[in-house]
Symmetry: C2
Subunit: 353 residues, 2 copies
């Protein structure tokens, strides 16, 4: 029996509550498809930071390296500045393991009322492909004149040919694979002087390799507006690290699925493990009450299945999620207007599988 | 009689069609309030670039300097790369005249159906205050290894204490003036390592000067989602150049007013002229047909009146716009679902004044 080794990092807050539900669903789907999962738990979190001064042990990345995949909950907690918790755990994992694709679905789900009007499930169904290792998220920069009126901070974004080309190729390949032969590039070459014209240049070069795929490009400001006004026109959207971050929260905002959206941090070559995690954070306001919605974590596990080479199993989990959301008698957590617990909803999805 | 000298730059495309309607309304409102406007026209545009290699003459900025204000249409045209047209005209004006505030209303208008559901005029009514002279829009950077596989582009954002503090103070002062004692800061200090933690640091320092005003801050990704999900919670939003650019298009996207939204590029100290321009672009697809909606240009003129010290006149123009939009028998341009011309709609607003 094929066994997959999964590093499980629940992280902070509700990460600890939603993770068991994803593992529950994985056990069930494993039994159904005749595969096994070995889960190794790592409790690295803001608590680790408070007791040790580090978000993970010095050899943390090495301890993750040999897994087939990483399933992550949520990282961040009040009292630990975000740039510490994230640059101490989440972002080093993305970079060390060259998870250069951040992939997120934007999808109107049955049973979820979106904030936008006149849209049906099926109308909005696209993917945001975000560059995940370079660009605007950089530690290049610094401060001069600290504490003086002349104080100044510089922050440098870095775009390499290699990093830019490979994310664009991934987007085009995905469009082909999905049979959605249309890629939109997020740019801002009218305001950002060097990096974005370069982004456009590479987009033109790479799109020439894919004559079967139609392209367009929008500046990030109007693109964000179009996510709200005409979300049905997108199929695959490719964006830099920052723009992709924005678009992949905005998209689920438009579909009303921000609490349940998943994401993959993917190394397509499989040289390293990829990380799958929900888009939502650790939610200090509801943490500890057992009422967090586990669907984002479960859906992330479904994306993981797909990446591990088990696409039918992944699709099966997504189908189970949709079935539970459509079934009026199924349990609902408070964010969905019900009174169910995290566990109730997790069990319902597991049963639907 | 008080006379204001206004530099009129229609620019490209529909800029030339909507501008006359704004001037028409200004004539009428001037007569009503007993002030006069002297309009000096400048035809600088992408055509200027094609014939002279420059977007404006070498002494262009000097020729604008002595005006009380600048009214601009739209800049940009296919065939002239955006970073040339904008860095050759629009952005130098913003910088030379230290127009460090970019101010835009986000407002649900009567008679306009927004893409979001369950919102009424009055529910959404806030201002985006965008830093307009530094930050991510910079010409600091460059390219190395051009044409090689090792090619790399760096782009440096610069945040000064002076630039950061003054935009934040403007936002707090505006909140006080409007009687909306609540300011939201757009940040991304969890991902952008130097500049955004600095932004947060200054926001904390400046907010301490305004104990009467409540504050919150959101990372730009979730903030964009919240613009769609809960736009009613915002009053004044302060943001860096790039984030403000995004938010001030997204906001009008949410309210369905992107075709009619105005903006001010303001030097609050009035050491230099400020520029008022619609948010929409030159719209090559409909240019030349006389069907562009002139309301964004007219509303920009209203913001100009406010800045010139004629707030009643400005409010009067906004009221006239709302009246025309609410009146079912008033002319409507195609974007509003009607068949009227630019001139029809401009005349209707002028008549309502
Ligand atoms: C045209 C472009 C450079 C400009 C900007 O990004 O500032 C526009 O989007 C705006 O917001 O006025
Ligand atoms: C937490 C933060 C650093 C992160 C990001 O911006 O990448 C998050 O918003 C995400 O999108 O995964």
């Amino acid at each position: 029996m094929q066994q997959y080794e999964v590093a499980v990092l629940p992280g902070d807050g509700i990460g600890n509550e939603v993770m068991p539900e994803a593992l529950r669903v994985l056990e069930v789907i494993g039994a159904k498809y005749g595969v096994r999962f070995g889960f190794r738990h790592f409790d690295w979190s803001c608590e680790t930071y408070r007791s040790t001064g580090r978000m993970m042990p010095a050899d943390g990345l090495d301890r993750l390296r040999d897994h087939d995949s990483i399933l992550l909950g949520a990282v961040g907690w009040p009292g630990v500045p975000d740039h510490i918790s994230l640059w101490g755990l989440l972002l080093p994992i993305r970079r060390e393991f060259d998870q250069y694709v951040n992939l997120r679905p934007v999808r109107l789900l049955p049973g979820v009322t979106p904030p936008v009007r006149d849209k049906e499930p099926g109308d909005i169904d696209f993917w945001v492909v975000r560059e995940n290792t370079e660009g605007e998220y950089s530690q290049l920069g610094g401060r001069q004149g600290e504490g003086t009126p002349n104080e100044m901070v510089l922050q440098t974004a870095a775009f390499t040919r290699r990093g830019t080309d490979r994310i664009m190729r991934y987007a085009f390949e995905l469009a082909r694979k999905l049979g959605k032969p249309h890629v939109t590039s997020a740019t801002k070459s009218n305001g950002i002087y060097y990096s974005m014209p370069y982004w456009d240049e590479r987009f033109a070069a790479i799109s020439a390799e894919y004559p079967d795929i139609t392209v367009d490009q929008d500046h990030i400001d109007i693109l964000c507006a179009r996510f709200v006004m005409t979300p049905e026109r997108f199929d695959v959207v490719v964006a830099s690290n920052l723009f992709g971050d924005i678009l992949s929260d905005l998209g689920p905002g438009v579909t009303g699925t921000i609490g349940v959206a998943p994401s993959g941090n993917i190394n397509p070559e499989r040289d390293y493990p990829s990380t799958f995690e929900p888009v939502h954070g650790s939610a200090p306001d509801i943490a500890g009450r057992g009422i967090a919605n586990p669907i984002g974590q479960i859906w992330s596990a479904a994306m993981m299945l797909d990446h591990l080479g088990l696409p039918e199993a992944g699709a099966d989990v997504v189908r189970a999620i949709e079935q539970v959301l459509t079934d009026a008698s199924a349990p609902r957590t408070p964010d969905l207007g019900g009174k169910a617990t995290t566990e109730d909803l997790g069990k319902a999805v597991a049963a639907a599988v």
